[in-house]
Symmetry: D3
Subunit: 334 residues, 6 copies
């Protein structure tokens, strides 16, 4: 005992152990140099693992989901962290994409699952770009994204103000979904949108241009305040409807990448993050929504932007993140 | 002035002052060696007292309750702390039981109250076992418990995994209600249940066994998420109904022990605790529920699991606990 | 860049730059010696400015309000801080009143606005008295106040217990609205009341006297718990109705001073304050209410009682306060 | 047990219990409104008491002093706090002076001690003025002061810059020794100086005027850096020599007031203070110096400027202060 | 990568992997229920491992020692933690003794080392008793102890005051060396003493009895303040002399157990501990002393009493502890 | 008032105000993406400015130096921050070099000073490279560096382990002096070395190669522990001698760049930094050394690696850094 893996899961350095098969891998991305404000998410994986210490296989039954994800068909392991350069984001992006692809193409243990699933512990949100690049390749088709966040993260890279041109700077935690869309990683029909939930960011300029751009990129938006009008059930219904009316090729369920920026929670619940926005959701609301959408076909997920230097002594942010990972695991195994 | 009693109440070392009579005594149990995860609740009594500094008799009218508990019929004092060994839980259990019994059997000041009431500042939750042992003896009958908590605390002692047999380890903050039930301290007819409120713990194994065991022990469960469906009024109604249909011997009101684990609150509201669980209630919800059940016949109470090392600089956890004590006092005096 | 003004606004030392005109001025009042419990609000202005660092003109569109207050008709500047004595409240009061008056009587830039508006960053709540004195003079008529707070702040000065007579002590953060009323600064017809919102303080004595006194001073009270019954929309409606039925002289809109004590929020959302009260509102609720009352004729405002020594490393309290300032700016510009 | 007095000493509200006699009284002065920068020392007494929790009579032998001050001739009690207005320093000053005088004139228990001694837990440093006023009256003669501090605290009141005249502001934590000298409370012959130790403050203007003024007020200065040249033994020798050559009226030992501003320690050792100055002494150095001067005739003492909001979770500042109190007690009893 | 072992060493669950051989094992003892004051050292192993993250084999050369302990003859691994009951110290003691014995009797990898060495990350100091029991058995002879601590830890168990007899309570972090001596685990000739260094604790009663008892138990004492008189070189010399004049059976070097209570450091350097004592050593002094005694025959070591809940955000305490482990490793490998 | 410049100095955005002349400019470099471990130094400039709030021109006389730098011949201003990309270090390096060059080539106010001097508030240490590039150009000759640090920062860029080639990664906070030397920015004769002071880092590999490389780069090394043997006076003498024997072209004083990594202080004094190393210097020692070398011809300086997220609530690290800036200013003006 004693060494801190997620939920005391078996630890394997997956990237350097190519023969190790698994169904679901927890993997850390200690990366935060694509961050615009408070850095520190490089220690997010460590903090989330530490906060998961009371999750055990022995007492792991999720009464909300009716399942113990740690005692079921899936072999779940902790793959450790991806080695990532803190000094060159071009290298970092390559390292992450290579890692996600290599693991995504690996075989599984259970015959129930054709391809392994990864849950990435962030790290800043830009890691979703290499994750989507890998999944695009693994699944051979564009993905759809269910994105919980206070922010859009579909900003055109040029919207980050700088007098100096920089291709590298295009890769950042506010633009990775724009880049993903632009690269064809996301499903691009308006009938098969991706979905934001929990938005409350300020917008560029003096109007709704950012939202218009976002719509053009084929996203549906759920604003944080919507929950006051339609409740968690309304949020769940809008999400499910958005993914349902997008059933494009006769499939029951499109593959969905679930990307959870912890700043979707209010700073009272998750102060330990880089760009907090007052007025967010509670953890109870988020958990309920996550349970409500458990039927989606989640093929990969991340929980990002946990920056523990800004959390309290009680680790409330990392605890919430660890709970979210647990809910995702419950859905993936169910 | 200056010495920190609860709400500036008069301080008497009740245990060593046998002639001192009171109606309601606040007493600290600086104890945390029956804790499974983060210790530190031994400093809970000190923290709660400190956080109560703005409660005064002068400005103590509870507008929610319509009463100033500090200016009414009851003589309320701060009894100080029980001396408790941090090194031997068998001794500690004996010390607490002896203290609760000695004080519970003492006379009162007001003719309105036949037996004095204690509100214990925890300390870890296991102190409820000696409290119930004492009340069983004082009242000469089994009690019913209204239990606010994220956790069941009715686990069979063998469910704490250990390769080493230990009777002493049976006494811990997850099993004390199992022990209490087993010892006959709790009312044991299914028509007179005890009640949990705020549950959201993970369960043992791969099914509902823990809930089934709990039901067999004669408990009704209110899950944290129930509040989203039935509101605080629904929670209140279920609690009151549970106690009403349990009226077993023609009494108007069964004696109820009110046990409030501060982890019933979400970690945003009470990070200063040992085993926090995301997705809990807000302080406003808890206060409203407490006011709703003010008519119950509370014969003793505790507010436990306040571990100040994990709270913020603003003392939010201890403030919430001090408020809860104030609400209990309001109910007891009303 | 680099010097921390509110939202990167242009900084002018307004008080010593009499020729500098503006429409809306952000001004700090680093003052906390009229505080009854935890001091430290003198650093509130600094903390709020720091927490506003991610507010920019470039990305400042308020999607809730449909406006970017930083890109519109109003010239908004950061006036710096008022020099205030920490050693003599009589002097401090004079200093603040002089500053507010001098700036309030200054001309404006935009023809849309006859008189400049100030948003004061507190500092303890007593600064509302000099602010109201100034506005009384600037507008030549009594004001009405919309007051968000856990506390009444209309206490008779003698209600602060002291065995020593002191006129200076009358000026404190619990009595400034009593003083304001007494001085004729507030509209004093029962048909044109001021409004409290978010109250949950304990009251003096053993009854409702404080509320009765408050009513006599012509205030309407919204209790924190009212939101559970009538929702944010009910809160908004009551506020608007209160101000509407007070339309006294045929005006469409009475001039309103908006005074926001950050302790209206629950300690989970705003622990960094001097007299926190459990059971308060969430930031999301407060923002929604502020948006709901955006049509009021706000002629001045404050956001007070931010004491950063008691907030967490994530600056959640100052972030909430900075957001509130942004919402007020949105309303003032709209 | 359980109620936090200093070192578990017996608590008596000395001020309202005139018949209670004692030899040495610990008394809190929860006061910080004469502070120029970070407030919060009003909670210093509470913090120091809390940090003294591991001091007990049972295990209280000071191996450096060869005495257990808690098991000796002196009756030592915790007198609680002086009630002090946070709203009017003129009143506050009166309250403190009255309290110190009343207690100083009380009788003692032991025949060894003609007058009781007080150790005041601050609170800001300005409390030394009322303490000296009281001692001047009690002893009927001027005192000499041994002053440990990073700052001079002999500044002329007009040196605090303000455009507004204020007599009240003259009373502040940088000028109280000027005021004391001016009032004739201090021995005023250059042959009987008072002594500063640990100085490292910046000075007014562009020269040594502050030091010259200080010399004119009859003070000897030991700069913080002197310890690097002459060691703790040199510091001790200079102090003892200063007091020795001041033996003015044939006495063996002049009565000395010992005033310890915790900011004499480096911010690494005492960050929890209002005006920290890098480059200070270590706790070990201070303790050694205190032991070295134990032979002085200390007739009263204070330990001031402990502002716990700025200390770490480990309470290092209050621990150092509690240790200093213990060393003073050891000297007083020896 | 990513999983936090000490200095990124290979992790093996040594206790459940009997075939795994090693020369030096780092092992955690997450235990703190034999603590008298602030608990939390159960998280010491986790904190020390986290703080060791910048120690790598690649850049691990100790310029003070002239060796890179991670690139040398010794196979060093991280054995994880011993499973230890937090609920029954009798069980916990048995668990620790069994673990230490089992590992101590295991074979080694290098022929240079006949028996493997353990460095235990505490945990509270009482773990030294089971460590010494194991070493007594492994080496077949009594040990000598070099003990860095503010406290004696040789107190007779009855010196912990309690009205209740308890054999279990005898095992605590202030009495384990008394117990060890009593059990014959320590060399018991006055010519072969054990050594305390850094002492500054208060003593029992009104005299030097604790020191006398300690002498009778065959200990030499170095007081914290001695360093001011004799410097680190004097401390080193006294230690080496003490062990030299104890060469009892013709050996060059007696086997020494090195036990480092982090509270030997001043609270400025190590606030994250349970019973801090102002006036301690600096980290630089401790490192220099450790390097000075590197020639001793250290057969086992511990670094204990790291309670991270009380350290600062900068992890200074755990960093100091990780550095101490590194210095011990350097000595063991050299 | 109110807006936080360094020491309340006048603020000018120097970079966009080309006509603004000054003698000494304080400039922030909010940059931390060349950091290997804990990021957050981008908020260093803000933290140091905040901690300088008690430095004023009015009371700014440095008694150690005999000068008030704020009331003397030099026009000192706060230039604000350099705009720096957090997303592309190649751009960031260009931005910083351009800023330093542009300002370095600007004219001065005082005829005493031919070229303006900058003191940079970091930011991570890599900013020294662009600073040296600029000074090389401004002075038309290589510089010599006086470098206070726990670390060498002369590592060959390939010594940062990575499997991925990256020119950009060569620019990092451990290699910038290697790069500077390689680019010819540093004086490269062994008779005119640069100097490290305070070193205590671990070295690469299993020997002294890093030191040998450093010597080849023409550096003299003062190890942290040297101070225990030669005192601050010995450190000062070695520094002065090193610069004296390097007088190469008949000059009295070579131009020296003073670079102070705050991690030269022990973590007790400066926990708020990215790569803390136990065993460092005290602030008092550092100040004394800085005063001792005041005669050097410092043409530019930085104070770097202040990461406030890791400091305590008392801001000890930023206070130390602000004091260091003040000492540098004193030297520059003297
Ligand atoms: Mn976000
Ligand atoms: Mn995001
Ligand atoms: Mn619980
Ligand atoms: Mn519980
Ligand atoms: Mn208020
Ligand atoms: Mn309020
Ligand atoms: Mn001072
Ligand atoms: Mn002072
Ligand atoms: Mn110890
Ligand atoms: Mn110990
Ligand atoms: Mn460094
Ligand atoms: Mn460096």
């Amino acid at each position: 005992g004693g060494i801190g893996t997620f939920a005391h899961l078996k630890h394997v350095k997956c990237l350097t152990t190519p023969n190790e098969l698994f169904d679901i891998g927890i993997i850390g991305a200690p990366f935060d140099t694509a961050t615009s404000y408070r850095p520190g998410a490089r220690f997010g994986p460590r903090a989330i693992r530490q906060a998961s210490a009371r999750q055990t296989s022995f007492r792991g039954f999720n009464h909300r989901a009716g399942i113990n994800p740690y005692q079921n068909w899936a072999k779940i392991i902790d793959c450790g962290d991806i080695p990532i350069s803190p000094l060159d984001n071009t290298v970092a992006l390559t390292q992450m994409a290579a890692a996600f692809t290599e693991l995504g193409l690996r075989g599984t243990v259970s015959p129930l699952l054709p391809k392994p699933k990864l849950i990435t512990l962030g790290g800043d949100h830009s890691l979703a770009l290499p994750a989507l690049r890998a999944l695009r390749q693994v699944y051979g088709r564009p993905l759809r994204v269910l994105h919980f966040d206070a922010h859009l993260d579909t900003w055109h890279p040029d919207k980050y103000p700088s007098a100096w041109p920089s291709n590298q700077a295009h890769f950042n935690h506010g633009s990775m979904f724009w880049l993903a869309g632009n690269e064809g990683l996301l499903s691009n029909a308006s009938t098969s949108p991706s979905v934001h939930a929990g938005l409350r960011t300020r917008l560029s300029g003096d109007g709704w241009d950012d939202f218009d751009d976002d719509t053009k990129q084929n996203w549906v938006r759920l604003i944080a305040d919507d929950i006051d009008d339609i409740g968690t059930s309304g949020i769940v219904k809008t999400i499910l409807d958005s993914f349902a009316f997008g059933v494009d090729s006769g499939e029951e369920q499109a593959p969905v990448y679930l990307s959870i920026d912890i700043d979707v929670l209010d700073p009272a619940f998750a102060p330990g993050t880089g760009t907090p926005e007052p007025g967010g959701w509670t953890t109870r609301e988020l958990i309920r929504i996550l349970r409500g959408i458990e039927g989606l076909n989640i093929v990969g997920a991340d929980v990002v932007e946990v920056a523990p230097a800004y959390q309290g002594a009680g680790e409330e942010t990392a605890l919430a993140a660890a709970q979210v990972v647990y809910e995702i695991l419950s859905s993936m195994v169910k």
